[in-house]
Symmetry: C2
């Protein structure tokens, strides 16, 4: 054999041989019209079976790399030369304006490696209800047997749309029919679809300040001009809404993210009035409206919206499993077709088996039982956090009052951002993950504070974490 | 009681009562400072329990609609008036350029109601492998027990990325490492991400003509200028690629959709050369490269791409279940970060349990066993279709030769589009669903033909369907 062949050891032998010959031909180490060794000869030289060589030749023939018939000999086909150009460099200029904005605006959160943290007070850690795993396993197994195998309906499987309607009517005061419900892959997709359907590059979008990072980035990178409106203890300050009509106002009325305030009734009405007057749309992100501890959950903003200006978004990530990427939108009738096509263009529709499992989980009442269990667990964790903060950090920390959700905001009046960074570093070395509120502000905030997520830790873990936080506050 | 309250019968009684009172206050049927009836009185008048009324009053108090304490009386709060504006009309002008393009370009496929069809020769109907349901059920149930509950990694769960690498190396000749793999929700999402990352409004994108409708619409509605390049029996005609550099070329090299030709080796090389020369990207949609009947599957175009210009896209929809919305991309290193952020902005990441189930399904070899079973079933169906077409429609139909895939293209030399429409209508009345190739062409095609999907029908059903097609050809 007058050419060098090296098998790379990856995959079946005939696949390796095919690859090696293909590369030799492409690289012109085997020139056109070269006669390949007879299969027996090559098999002998390589120490493989003749069938391996036959399979490789057959494959190369069907791909056009060699010509001729087994028996009469195989010849390298006249394969055009590939110019030897250098490969694409590892870095290229941003290929589009969107990519340019991604590269400059996407915020990689400062995230201590959670493996080294004993206690991670990060918002978004899942609340683990031990009963849920076995229930969910049963629902999935069951759903996999009777979910239609074809492409799912883009709007969502009918059972889930109906279950969402029933749930919204019962728990969130929102009366809709299932033709207004669109199933999406979580809040993130809902926001992305809203950007696509409603916003052109350069259009303005109102966000609360501070706000959820996902919403901000989706809109900014989409090309929207963001108008940040400050938040106080009654939610977004409607007197500061811009005079020029925005395309969209994104709000968290039930439990402002991350501050925790509830949008007051006068402001709810003012906001709806504003939308009517400016002919803009409101996106209500009801991300944890379900978890309210000292009263029934408040009715959603959407329930007051007689003008059909509010796009309502809910998520199952927080209330079932973050690993399950499902959520839902209630879409004004005038926009339903646009949102449905946008969903089709994004991914055709959400995976069906999980939708059917969720629909059954909701229809049987198991979901709301699970919600009540979660609310009890969260309430206990929140109380433990408040008590521990009072005991170990009372002097240094000012907790923002809020009786809902899975997190608390807390100001540190004596801290600036630099000192907070060093507190976070110290806490991290002692095994506690702390997170600053600052990245969630679009304008530089007047105050420095922490976002304390408590859903992922038990009462005992919360107590231990805050005890360590106390030592860090003393030693920092 | 001097005001009228009607409970609407939807949900728990206290929820109905809360809603009715809220609406009466919003509509000014209950004016500010009006004293609400004592709870006992109202309970008696409505014939409900006092606790129901108490719960409703408590809720309205926490929402700010009423003031006062239980015992001392409840009063309607000074709720600002909502201007009585007409609601948003059912039709509004397109809210964005994207929405305008959606409304004008989204093609609702002419789809006979499949419930009335006995035999639907639609492409995209699922291939049902009876063994798959129980296997998939087991995999899902198993995966649900040990999938981490938190937000999934945006790029895809590591096990699945690895399983995809191994599979691509073994079956598609593509050697990559798992850091180049991005898990997406099917081919549709892969295309949508490519549009986002690579294409600005007005940029040009090359598509094959005819082409997959999803790819065309995603790019068109995104705002790309499409350049349609004709296809012949060797795939896309590279001599007709535009001189001005496009951003992206979308191709189906393994089995051109819908014509079925295989991109020849000289053209593969010409296409790669073109991409290097024009500094553009190639998107290889390997939608059914797996199913090839008379030889091993051909290596993917990506396997020849030493320049890292090819974005490779594969889907599990066709080979596992259409209802499962999962696929994968192999992304050039220079673009990996952009695509990952774009995926994050779209939906954070794909649902984790299904990814873990799929990873295990692949790692244990069950997937490739399933593929072999499917290939056997498809081969038998394809043969049955060819034989039946020869027998019942031989004179009228000219089948495009192809030994791969889940569909055949067939020309009807004596037909124009009008006559084909009437054939399709006649077939539909006789229970057979037929589909024209024409909608898949961007430029008006020179010929008229049918796209015959055979994956969803058994051999006997295919024979019966083609027998009916034969009668329709005679009677039309």
């Amino acid at each position: 054999m007058d050419f060098y062949l090296e098998l790379d050891g990856s995959g079946a032998l005939h696949v390796q041989l095919t690859r090696a010959l293909r590369e030799a031909i492409m690289a012109k180490r085997l020139h056109r019209d070269t006669r390949l060794p007879p299969t027996r000869t090559l098999a002998h030289e390589l120490g493989v079976s003749r069938n391996t060589v036959l399979a490789a030749y057959e494959q190369l023939r069907s791909e056009g790399f060699i010509v001729g018939k087994v028996g009469s000999g195989s010849y390298v086909a006249p394969v055009a030369s590939m110019r030897s150009a250098p490969p694409v460099p590892k870095q290229v200029p941003p290929p589009s304006r969107y990519a340019r904005r991604m590269r400059s605006m996407h915020h990689v959160s400062r995230k201590p490696s959670s493996t080294t943290l004993r206690y991670n007070l990060q918002y978004g850690e899942p609340l683990l209800n031990p009963k849920l795993t076995s229930t969910w396993r049963r629902e999935l197994a069951h759903a996999s047997l009777y979910t239609p195998p074809g492409y799912p309906r883009t709007r969502g499987v009918p059972e889930l749309c109906q279950a969402v309607c029933d749930y919204l009517g019962r728990r969130r005061g929102v009366r809709v029919n299932s033709s207004q419900v669109l199933i999406v892959n979580g809040t993130q997709q809902a926001m992305a679809l809203a950007a696509r359907v409603l916003v052109d590059e350069g259009d303005s979008v109102v966000v609360e300040d501070p706000q959820y990072l996902g919403a901000r980035e989706i809109m900014q990178i989409h090309g929207a001009r963001l108008v940040a409106v400050p938040v106080d203890e009654d939610g977004i300050d409607c007197s500061k809404l811009p005079r020029a009509a925005p395309r969209l106002v994104i709000v968290t009325p039930s439990h402002q993210f991350p501050i925790g305030s509830v949008l007051s009734l006068p402001r709810r009405i003012a906001l709806l009035e504003y939308a009517v007057q400016k002919k803009c749309w409101i996106l209500e992100d009801d991300y944890d409206g379900e978890f309210r501890y000292d009263a029934q959950p408040l009715a959603a903003l959407r329930s007051l919206d007689s003008q059909d200006r509010v796009i309502y978004v809910g998520s199952f990530s927080k209330v079932v499993l973050p690993s399950l990427r499902l959520g839902y939108m209630v879409v004004p009738e005038a926009l339903m077709k646009d949102f449905t096509i946008a969903k089709w263009l994004s991914d055709l529709g959400s995976s069906a088996i999980e939708q059917v499992a969720l629909a059954n989980f909701m229809a049987t009442g198991t979901f709301e039982r699970h919600l009540r269990q979660c609310a009890r667990m969260l309430k206990a964790r929140r109380s433990a956090l408040l008590v521990a903060l009072e005991e170990h950090a009372g002097a240094a920390i000012e907790v923002v009052d809020s009786d809902a959700g899975m997190h608390l905001a807390a100001w540190l009046p004596d801290y600036d951002e630099t000192r907070l960074e060093s507190l976070m570093d110290l806490a991290s070395t002692r095994g506690v993950g702390l997170y600053s509120l600052s990245p969630l502000f679009l304008r530089a905030p007047a105050r420095t504070g922490l976002l304390l997520g408590y859903a992922g830790l038990s009462v005992a873990e919360i107590q231990a974490a805050v005890r360590i936080l106390g030592t860090c506050l003393r030693d920092n």
